[in-house]
């Protein structure tokens, strides 16, 4: 299996397995990269702001997502 093929399978999995939301897909892919960056760069003001931004962004987007979906409940695919 070529690396190219592997990458496409990984990307396909990320895109197909989640809640079909590009922002959350981005969050899933950025998370491990941010952890790696924090490990390498250590604790400083830049990494602290980045991590805080990641978490606050997740919370804010989830609230935004909920508020917009409440207006269109048909969007939700119930398990």
């Amino acid at each position: 299996m070529s690396r190219r093929h592997y990458r496409s399978r990984l990307l396909t999995w990320v895109l197909n397995s989640g809640p079909d939301d590009p922002v959350y897909n981005l969050y899933l892919m950025l998370g491990p990269l941010l952890i790696l960056f924090v490990v390498l760069a250590g604790r400083n003001s830049m990494t602290t702001v980045l991590v805080a931004g990641y978490i606050v962004g997740f919370v804010v987007y989830t609230i935004y997502n909920v508020s917009t979906t409440l207006e269109r409940p048909d969007w939700v695919q119930h398990p």
């Binding site: 959350y24 997502n65 909920v66 969007w75």
Partner: protein
């Protein structure tokens, strides 16, 4: 045993072992990064053994039929036991390398601490592995901080994988469509589906789990943990496992911020994945329309307040009692097992009032939501028992011609379905108590007399069987006798699979194995 049983069992067991071997071999990155080169031969051997056996089995039985219900339960039971046995190899081999070659094959070995040398005993290694994979968190290591990073990582990884399930991982990797995957999925104490396809369901579960793991790690780092500790505690918190990489669990930090950050992570681990999926889709109603989540919230609030009141007289201030009471109740109900009531906290669990310990026992027996990473008999069964008992009692107050229906959330169970589901919940609850009592008997027989009070022994067994990990101080390489370790291994194993698959397997082995024929 019949060949039509052996074939699916052999093939799927083989695949599980191959996945396990892969996890061990991938973990070689850790000793490379941390310079623990002496651990690499141990990991390589530990990984190649299950890979070779698994490859042999999965190749020999490649053409096996799809597993039916019996096969599914036998695969789950034997597979989890095999995974725990082979998953103990990294502990065993690394400990022996460090013990036998103080020079470390020319590579620097770690100081021979007691926490490491206990794993030269295979029983201790299997105990640690079973505790890890089942998400229990009881440990044989006296001081986890002295363990090599390689073993710290292996403990966290097996809890992380075990939280979702070894079969769920194997199913996600194999992506084998059909009823066989569904049968296996159900055998691993899961029933809720997110999508019609079981392969899509397990892949979505992993998607959500990975996202939440990243968030947990970064939250803990932001709360002040060093990266290595944040990674390990993030993995064991979201999987409601409870292993720690420091001595004294979370209590050692003595940090309100870290405890406050861990509370939502543990609760998230105790909520079913389909509910998380709904919330990520923007449907917040999924949180309060789901019966189990409503009950989880109610039990968390009522139980935490109740425990707070019970421990308040023992603490200097009500604020302090609130801090430790709430954390310990959430940790127990979600089956995480992180402990703050331990050194250097003012009071350890061992000196908590009996009523408080019994409240935690209740939480550990019940557990959180089915379909989450938590243990215990699960809230849905408690709900079924409560509603079923009310149904049976109210039954006699109505005329015979009345049509009786049992409401469980949005499901209406008729006179046939209601008693059946109530019966299933009652059987699990009864067996849970039977195995608790059996282990209680074993420990009472083998522990030194008058060393531990009854409530403390009950607490420890409930912790093992509910896959929690809270300890009142009985679990340890020297303090727990061999019979107790064997009993706890059994408790953790049956607790993770909710008993029935193990009983089915034992019956199949005795009956189909021809012992009675």
């Amino acid at each position: 045993m019949r060949s039509d049983t052996i074939a699916p069992l052999g093939r799927d067991l083989g695949w599980m072992l191959r996945v396990l071997g892969g996890l061990i071999l991938v973990s070689v990155v850790v000793p490379l990064v941390w310079g623990e080169y002496y651990a690499i031969p141990g990991l390589v051997i530990s990984g190649l053994v299950p890979v070779a056996i698994g490859w042999g089995l999965s190749t020999a039985f490649a053409d096996a039929d799809s597993p039916d219900k019996l096969h599914g339960m036998m695969i789950a039971a034997t597979g989890w036991f095999a995974i725990a046995v082979f998953g103990s190899l990294p502990f065993f081999t690394v400990a022996w390398i460090a013990t036998l070659t103080p020079g470390g094959l020319g590579l620097a070995t770690p100081p021979l601490t007691e926490s490491l040398t206990v794993f030269t005993n295979p029983l201790n290694a299997i105990f640690e592995s079973m505790s890890g994979f089942t998400g229990t968190g009881l440990t044989m290591a006296e001081d986890e901080s002295t363990l090599p990073r390689t073993l710290q990582w292996w403990r966290s990884l097996i809890q992380w994988v075990g939280g979702v399930g070894v079969i769920v991982l194997t199913t996600a990797i194999l992506a084998r469509p059909g009823s066989g995957s569904l049968t296996l999925y159900k055998s691993e104490a899961r029933s809720q589906k997110i999508h019609p396809s079981i392969v899509s369901t397990v892949q979505t579960i992993w998607w959500i789990f990975l996202l939440f793991t990243s968030l947990s790690i970064l939250l803990l780092w932001l709360a002040g943990l060093p990266p290595w500790q944040a990674i390990n505690h993030g993995m064991t918190a979201i999987s409601t496992g409870g292993f720690s990489v420091i001595d004294g669990s979370i209590g050692a930090y003595d940090s309100v911020v870290i405890e406050a950050v861990l509370l939502p992570i543990m609760i998230a681990g105790g909520i079913a994945f389909p509910v998380h999926y709904l919330v990520l889709q923007g449907d917040l109603r999924g949180l309060y329309t789901d019966l189990q989540t409503r009950w989880l919230a109610a039990v968390l609030v009522v139980g935490s307040v109740f425990l707070w009141l019970l421990v308040s007289p023992a603490y200097d201030s009500v604020i302090e009692a609130f801090r430790y009471g709430v954390f310990q109740f959430v940790s127990a109900l979600t089956a995480t097992g992180f402990q703050t009531a331990t050194e250097p906290a003012p009071l350890s669990l061992a000196v908590w009032p009996t009523s408080a310990l019994l409240t935690l026992v209740f939480a550990m027996v019940v557990g959180a939501a089915a379909g989450s990473t938590a243990g215990g008999i699960k809230l849905i069964r408690l709900i079924m028992l409560v509603k079923g008992i009310r149904f049976r009692v109210s039954y006699v107050f109505y005329p015979d011609s009345t049509v009786h229906r049992l409401w469980i959330d949005d499901r209406v169970l008729d006179e046939e379905e209601g008693p059946r589901e109530f019966g299933e919940a009652a059987i699990i609850a009864l067996l849970w108590v039977v195995f608790l009592a059996t282990s209680l008997f074993v420990l009472l027989m083998t522990l030194p007399s008058e060393t531990y009070p009854l409530e403390m022994i009950l607490f420890e067994i409930a912790s093992a069987q509910g896959n929690i990990g809270l300890s009142a101080g009985i679990t340890g390489p020297a303090s727990l006798p061999t019979a107790g370790k064997l009993a706890f291994i059994l408790n953790m194993w049956i607790g993770r699979l909710e008993i029935i698959p193990i009983l089915v397997t034992l019956r199949a082995l005795f009956w189909r194995g021809g012992i009675y024929e």
